[in-house]
Symmetry: C2
Subunit: 331 residues, 2 copies
């Protein structure tokens, strides 16, 4: 039998175990024109929370009693599709199933010798592209400028900061544990890192960490952390808004100081984005990131949880900040 | 004797009469290399409120016990400066004085026969340029799109809406009296206009007025009006933030729903600006606006108050929404 994880209920606030349902179905078979895929690594990402709501967004919502889906690395265990062979590894947005048949559309073959397979869900996958494209296309950092990253120890934030350092910027990260703060400084070479949970005056802490002000704020979180950074932006600051993890589970609108006066006074730019808008830049981004990886200029953190059954819990743990870097489930 | 208006006290909240002081000084004389100017028209503008604070902004604050200043049209009554003759009219940022000597730096000669002199403080001056540049350079409207303008009956808003109509957009204005709403539709040919003071559900009213959603939101006001518009933006919406008149007098931060989730979900862009950032576009803008004026495609509203002594009151009346279009004092 084949295990499958369905959306059982739409979460109210934070997702809970009962929002998911495990079922078993008959083993799928590959028909003509299909491959049979075995799931190896599953990516869990904050943006999936949005797809669990029944509301219009940039991607359609998941349907109740249908499988959840996310970025997956899978092995081709049988192929009736030209171009794919048994033993190939592929990535794509796939259902949360142990095995699935697939027509190949949207699958990309990946080389298990060029990088760890899980990297294709992270630094060489959606999160790495998100960091690279959001920073380069919206943040447009120049050497000598100061970049602040919230959610800095996450999969996107840790890459943003490292790219900032490669480009010659001062980089300050904001994260939620002392361990993460330490990792940002030692492993990812951030100039400064701030634990927002133990800092009483975050606005003052950002100011102290950014003596010449904030030129680029790469925002992964929204909420009060962002208020504190916005209070320190320079004229012509750029603010790529990549996510608002702290707000995804909100059941009522989250109130904060209105930002329009700051935006005018500072002639600042804020732009929300999803990585697919920059698809034309992906080849450049992947080539550049692969080079930096090989040169040892870029490293990445993963939190790898083992077992297909752990996928929902790993996803829920994202909202408790339990991951360092990319959260991955190894099946 | 020569009347002068000084900044007497920095306002707390809305400016009041006692924040200004009238004094008399000896009549100025034009020295060699100077012109003697007689003030004819004075522009009062919301942005001046920011200069009355003792805080860093995009222009230096006014000094206490020094003259206030703003855009002025003046007549040259005596010239000891080559290039200027008695009877010339000029515009520039000048002190609130009946007469003043000036070295000519930053003055621009204007033609009293090409347009009404007051137009050089409005549609062919800073407010017209603000409307044109903010809309074209940040809003980037395309024919068939929907533009919403707040502060629509003001000097900037009314021009934004008209340019939108010229470009083939649907244009919806938000203003604060039924008279303004009527003027937006009859005089400026807005497709719809909403009186936010008499509308109980502004979000629903914006939705009804914008059946295909909001592509460009030209924001002059900030605050709850903007919350209602932001709730209706389309994917890839552009939001030039020109001003935040409703927030300029705030003594405590104004709270509202945080916008980051909307910015991400809609891949929206918000950019604050001041018109001087677009100086390179001014010649194009003035040429285009002059052409539209001559073709009768563009008209403008002015509220003209008479008397030098009325300058502070006219300025204070801006924050009560007493103006239709550009607020001008005729001296």
């Amino acid at each position: 039998m084949n295990k499958v994880i369905l959306l059982n209920a739409r979460p109210v606030g934070k997702p809970v175990s009962s929002d998911f349902k495990f079922i078993e179905e008959a083993m799928p078979v590959a028909n003509e024109g299909q491959v049979l895929l075995k799931t190896k690594y599953v990516s869990v990402d904050p943006y999936l929370r949005g797809r669990m709501n029944d509301s219009e967004s940039y991607i359609p919502p998941f349907e109740l009693n249908k499988p959840m889906a996310s970025g997956v690395v899978a092995e081709v265990v049988e192929s009736k599709l030209p171009g794919f062979e048994k033993g190939d590894f592929v990535t794509g947005v796939l259902d949360w199933k142990e095995y699935q048949a697939h027509n190949g559309q949207g699958l990309m073959k990946v080389d298990p010798n060029a990088a760890d397979l899980s990297a294709y869900l992270g630094i060489l996958g959606m999160t790495g592209l998100t960091a690279y494209c959001g920073l380069m296309e919206i943040g447009k950092p120049k050497a000598g400028e100061t970049i602040v990253v919230s959610g800095a120890a996450g999969a996107v934030g840790s890459v943003v900061g490292q790219i900032g350092k490669i480009l010659g910027c001062r980089v300050v990260g904001i994260a939620g544990t002392d361990e993460k703060v330490e990792m940002l400084k030692s492993k990812f070479h951030f100039d400064e890192a701030i634990n927002y949970k133990t800092t009483t005056d975050l606005k003052a802490a950002v100011k102290a960490a950014c003596p010449t002000g904030v030129d680029v704020y790469f925002d992964n979180v929204g909420a009060a952390i962002s208020d504190a950074v916005l209070a320190n932006i320079n004229r012509y600051a750029r603010i790529p808004v990549c996510g608002a993890i702290s707000l995804y589970n909100a059941t009522t609108p989250d109130l904060g100081p209105r930002i329009q006066p700051t935006m005018v006074i500072k002639s600042a730019l804020m732009q929300g984005f999803i990585v697919s808008a920059f698809a034309a830049k992906f080849p450049e981004a992947i080539a550049q990131m692969s080079t930096w990886l090989k040169e040892g200029k870029l490293s990445y953190a993963e939190t790898v949880v083992e077992g297909f059954d752990q996928i929902p819990q790993a996803f829920m743990d994202l909202f408790e900040g339990k991951n360092e870097g990319k959260m991955i489930v190894k099946v």
